[in-house]
């Protein structure tokens, strides 16, 4: 924003000095440049405006949870985050049963479900994506690379509902036949399905940042007697670290918000357990499954929007952490280079 203003400022000052000498054609050209710059700026701000408007809308719908007396009674913060007695005579537990005579709205099972599927997908997708990108950027022959990159990127174009269907029908049965797990649809299967969706993202961004590492780094390393593997692992990979981190954050954001695959493949049971073999219910799948029939303006409705706000806050915080870290690494790298 500041830069925009100062650039425009410079333009005005420059014109004031040079203006009398300009031909009309040149002046028209300058005007056209300005109009185009203005349009592009407006476009850029449309994106930001949309983001802000979405956030305001979602937050407004969620806010009723804290303002409305009925909603405050039904879904207070303590009911959302502390164990509650679900059935008389049983110990207090975390239960998500928003449609009930006494709604139980604990978010803990949803957090656990989201964490489990996202973690599984990251554990699988980050090594696969980064290793694949390292191979494509450093070791693959040019011909192979030209096939590899578009093919993996094609995977990003597969609609998530198709991936979800594949996981539901094929992968889940395969996992059950191979490992004999108790529940066919579980957090592990859903996480594996998610990783299919985010490997292309991590691969593409990582590959781009590896290719962007200056040739001189590699040449210097090889000249000092390092093997190609040592060069890739100890020089190129650290130099591309900010880009790789950005890739992981993008992948994480995709995994935590991805809805269709987990909705189809996780079984959607809101269970509090550490086992990956148990069914899991994620925040995004809960919103998708329950928004269809909820009464607009009811506490349950606000609650679903509150889940949306939480998802937003998670990704926002992670993005912020990642960008601060990236800046620090970049500073260190450029400091070392100087």
């Amino acid at each position: 924003m500041d830069r925009q203003v100062s650039m425009q400022g410079q333009g005005v000052v420059g014109m004031a000095v040079v203006a009398p000498k300009l031909s009309s054609a040149a002046r028209r050209r300058q005007l056209r440049e300005k109009v185009i710059a203005g349009i592009i700026t407006a476009m850029a701000f449309t994106g930001i405006a949309a983001l802000v408007l979405i956030l305001v809308f979602v937050a407004k719908e969620a806010l009723a949870l804290f303002l409305d007396a009925e909603a405050r009674h039904e879904a207070s913060l303590s009911k959302m985050f502390l164990p509650q007695v679900a059935r008389a005579g049983r110990p207090a537990t975390f239960v998500w049963q928003p449609v009930s005579s006494v709604p139980k709205v604990s978010m803990i099972p949803l957090f656990i479900g989201t964490l489990k599927t996202t973690l599984v997908s990251m554990v699988v997708a980050v090594p696969v994506g980064v290793a694949g990108a390292l191979f494509a950027a450093e070791f693959a022959p040019r011909r192979l690379r030209e096939v590899l990159k578009p093919t993996i990127e094609l995977l990003a174009g597969v609609p998530s509902v198709v991936l979800g269907f594949f996981v539901l029908m094929v992968l889940a049965s395969f996992m059950q036949d191979t490992f004999g797990v108790g529940s066919r649809l579980n957090a592990l299967v859903a996480g594996l399905g998610l990783s299919l969706a985010i490997v292309p993202v991590i691969f593409t961004v990582t590959e781009d940042s590896l290719t962007a590492v200056p040739r001189s780094y590699r040449e210097a390393s090889l000249a000092l007697g390092a093997t190609p593997w040592e060069t890739a692992w100890k020089v190129v990979l650290p130099a591309a670290a900010p880009g790789i981190l950005a890739a992981c954050v993008l992948g994480f954001g995709g995994a935590i918000g991805e809805t269709m695959i987990v909705l189809m493949a996780s079984g959607n049971a809101a269970i509090v357990s550490a086992s990956l073999m148990d069914s899991a219910r994620t925040l995004s799948a809960t919103i998708a499954a329950e928004m269809g029939e909820v009464v607009v303006g009811s506490p349950h409705y606000s609650l679903l929007f509150f889940l949306g706000v939480e998802l937003f806050v998670f990704t926002f915080l992670l993005n912020m952490l990642a960008s601060t870290w990236t800046r620090r690494v970049l500073k260190r790298l450029s400091g070392a280079g100087a």
């Binding site: 449609v99 066919r184 219910r281």
Partner: protein, 273 residues
């Protein structure tokens, strides 16, 4: 040009009285009935283009309160009207509501076809869905964990099972929720320790459970649901403020006709007669 305008006006004259005379009938209420009522309305309007029908959901309670407030002509309900509601209605329109059963609905429980059990009592089903029984051996099956499948909480079937079988208590947390009867059937067909519920289904790989009452195992067949013998069945109602007349009577006659009842079977419900 003149003839064109003349024909246009004559056309308008022809059409206008038609639209102004045509009654608009509003039907509102139960989400269980809304799909069926929409099908009925479509077919009915094909035959009687003069009558316009508006079908909206919202839930049985919403429909009945709209009937009391006079904002709908017909209320759909998946439960009988409450005494309090009927009193309110009598106070407004000097007569109790007219109740007409329009279709029947029954919930079937399925297990995988390899499961050796054929029938369970309603209490056993209840305990399984409450999470008190978690192993098939406790109900006479093999020693294997029960994988419980349920529907999303937006589903009318979810509410029916919750109200009728679980008596309003919550499903076990480990019940996996799936969208639609087809998804449940598919899951149970693939899961040999699975149990699920939904409308009547004829699919490979699953077996419909009978419900044990005393010594008798009652199958969720059409005749058992029609006669009310199958314990997990219910009637679905239309409520009106007075005796049906005019457009409402014509619509109800269509609904109760063999053709209307055949539509009910097609959508997955059972005829009342």
């Amino acid at each position: 040009m003149k003839t064109f305008i003349a024909s246009l006006t004559s056309l308008l004259l022809l059409v206008l009285p038609g639209t102004s005379q045509a009654g608009t009938l509003t039907v509102k209420g139960s989400d269980t009935l809304v799909i069926l009522a929409q099908r009925w309305a479509e077919e009915f309007m094909k035959k009687n283009p003069a009558t316009k029908l508006q079908v909206t959901g919202g839930g049985s309670g919403v429909g009945l309160s709209a009937l009391i407030n006079g904002t709908t002509d017909i209320a759909m309900s998946s439960r009988p009207i409450k005494d309090a509601e009927n009193k309110q209605l009598s106070a407004r329109s000097n007569a109790p509501a007219t109740q007409i059963a329009v279709a029947k609905d029954g919930v079937t429980f399925y297990v995988n076809e390899s499961n050796k059990l054929d029938a369970l009592t309603a209490e056993q089903l209840r305990d399984i869905y409450l999470g008190d029984i978690t192993n098939w051996k406790d109900v006479g099956g093999l020693d294997a964990p029960i994988v419980v499948y349920s529907r999303e909480n937006s589903s009318g079937t979810y509410v029916f099972v919750k109200d009728h079988l679980l008596k309003g208590e919550d499903y076990t947390a480990s019940a996996q929720t799936l969208p639609g009867t087809a998804a449940v059937v598919n899951a149970v067909a693939k899961e040999k320790n699975g149990i699920g519920y939904g409308g009547a289904a004829y699919a490979k790989g699953i077996k419909e459970l009978k419900v044990l009452q005393g010594k008798e195992a009652i199958a969720p067949s059409e005749e058992n649901i029609k006669s009310g013998k199958y314990p997990l069945s219910r009637e679905l109602y239309f409520y009106l403020r007075a005796k049906p007349a005019g457009d409402a009577k014509a619509f109800l006659d269509f609904v109760l006709s063999p053709e209307g009842q055949a539509l009910a079977t097609k959508v997955g419900y059972f005829p009342v007669k």
